[in-house]
Symmetry: C2
Subunit: 354 residues, 2 copies
């Protein structure tokens, strides 16, 4: 069996940009997409990082993601806008929509931007962190095709519908929560199928609605909360309404599947709310209080981790050692290198991570 | 042992208003507070309904909740405002702040209002539903004193920090999620202590950080998610930052306790975001799509409940049969009737509910 190797984030990004340019992406959009995926993998979020590029390239080739989309940001009021994604790549569209929300927040104190007719936008924490790095509070939501069973239900209905919040932190990276409203994200199932590994118990159902750990048999995830899964399910529903129906997009089972029907546009949405702390009584001190609270929490009995701590730890390690590339992913990369005439990036021996 | 009786919502409300008026609340504020608590109990949310009035009255008598607060709504931009609660009752302050957010949303498309120097604001779904009844999308957050252990921690740090979202639903009540970010709300522990009942397993810790079901021994709740409780914990932290530090309020363990130090002002906050669907591409059809989605979900295998369904079922029953009053609560009501010279409302024999 082939061994896993690593790839340097910059080397991978150059390769990805070359592949996207070969498929007619603009230089700016290729960089935006490739750097976002590299960053996500540096955070250790393998479900949403470099592993997804082959799929995205495949959708571009099949015509359901446009390399040169007509993205329009239509302002609809002093603090709102609708971003029409023009069937572009979801990461490119979401960065544009989120940037508009930042601008609105600076003007009006809060900005809300909905996204329509887009595609999978990767890790939603990319956008909330971008707001927090500018001293603003980022809130983001996105949805996907039916993969989570309702609480008490047996078949998929909503996506894993993540929510993210990020706050500026004085002297450090933003404090960022980025969580699926299921116990695990669907792309962990995809990766487990690719790598032949098992899932934890209690997080997924088979085709008959029974608990399952064999990734090949899994047909639905269960909502966050276990016995109190009505809460994860309720959150998923609220995220769905903000991302789907509010923007005129389809919802739940009416959304085309991510990994099938590759010619069909995804028609996915997202929703971004950005808040300017300066408009509130504690705004001036907020970033310092965030840093103080995080430090106080880390010193509690049991040393609880803060949201985002694992991402920052992974980033420090992967910047030094590279991003792990499982054999199946390396094979996909080699295939695209061949198809697009772009030489593979150099691979490094694996270090540290299994 | 005394048996539980029921009380009619209107009769209870009249009694509560008379008690509040006797403590110098204005007619409007007494009605606002009493009707909110009666409505919450009609929804079946016994943790946040009429059972809390004796405690609130006690805080008024001890001077930490002011009957005649100077509540100021200070506009800070085209879409934002800071509500200074003036140490008023949290429910009165929150209704005013939320009304300001509705007004801002109508003007700017989205409105965000933070609350400072307030007190316990009851069920946060009161406010989001108020927005949804006006055709808007309501999002609300509030916090409380330290009662939930961090994921991986052993001692309380955050409150049960609930989040709520409500959407307008054509031909029906708003679709509303109102959830604590712990598996159960703290007031269920308070009621279990009062009534001598046990808690479910896996939701609470004792003073040493071990799992506990005896309400008398419980010192902390665990975050929503069980094994994936880093998500409930992360949500609680984000809610805390929006409600506490952003508004210049204290946070977590620095907040005065609800049921002790009755002379000490709570200095609690809240945060309301209201969105006007008309500013987004799917806004015109939203309420109809919400109704259609809820109906489609109810017809799924397993007949999953939607968020808010239990509340609507409880309301239909309690409007007919009255609100249950456990013996210990009736004794508290009798004591306040005596102290304030207000005759008790008529009680009804118990029906239907245990």
């Amino acid at each position: 069996m082939a061994r896993q190797q690593n790839v340097g984030a910059e080397q991978w990004q150059q390769w990805a940009e070359a592949c996207l340019r070969a498929l007619d992406f603009s230089e700016a959009d290729a960089r935006c997409l490739a750097s976002s995926l590299a960053q996500t993998s540096l955070w250790g979020i393998d479900s949403h990082g470099i592993a997804r590029l082959p799929h995205y390239l495949n959708r571009v080739v099949h015509g359901s993601i446009l390399a040169r989309p007509d993205i329009r940001i239509e302002r609809s009021g002093p603090a709102t806008a609708q971003a029409h994604g023009g069937q572009g790549h979801g990461i490119v569209v979401a960065h544009r929509a989120n940037a508009a929300a930042l601008e609105l927040a600076r003007e009006a104190g809060v900005g809300a931007v909905g996204v329509s007719n887009s595609s999978h936008c990767g890790a939603i924490g990319l956008y909330t962190r971008a707001a927090a790095r500018e001293g603003l509070i980022g809130i983001g939501f996105t949805h996907s095709d039916a993969i989570a069973a309702p609480f008490g239900g047996r078949q998929p209905y909503f996506g894993t519908n993540p929510v993210s919040f990020a706050f500026p932190r004085q002297g450090g990276e933003p404090l960022c929560l980025d969580m699926a409203t299921t116990s695990i994200p669907w792309n962990r199932v995809v990766n487990a199928r690719r790598d032949g590994t098992a899932l934890p118990a209690g997080v997924a159902l088979d085709a008959e609605g029974r608990g399952a750990t064999d990734a090949a048999r899994v047909r639905a995830l269960t909502p966050l909360g276990g016995e109190y899964g009505h809460k994860g399910y309720g959150l998923a529903m609220m995220v769905e309404l903000l991302c789907g129906p509010l923007n005129g997009n389809p919802y739940g089972p009416h959304i085309g599947p991510m990994y099938e029907q590759l010619e069909r546009a995804r028609e996915l949405g997202a929703f971004f709310i950005v808040i300017d702390p300066a408009r509130f009584a504690g705004g001036a001190a907020l970033a310092a209080v965030v840093a103080g609270m995080a430090a106080e929490l880390a010193a509690q009995p049991g040393s609880p981790r803060a949201p985002g701590d694992p991402e920052l730890a992974a980033q420090a390690q992967r910047q030094a050692w590279g991003i792990p590339v499982p054999p199946a992913l390396k094979a996909e990369m080699a295939e695209w290198s061949g198809r697009l005439g772009q030489p593979l990036p150099p691979f490094l021996p694996p270090r540290g991570e299994a």
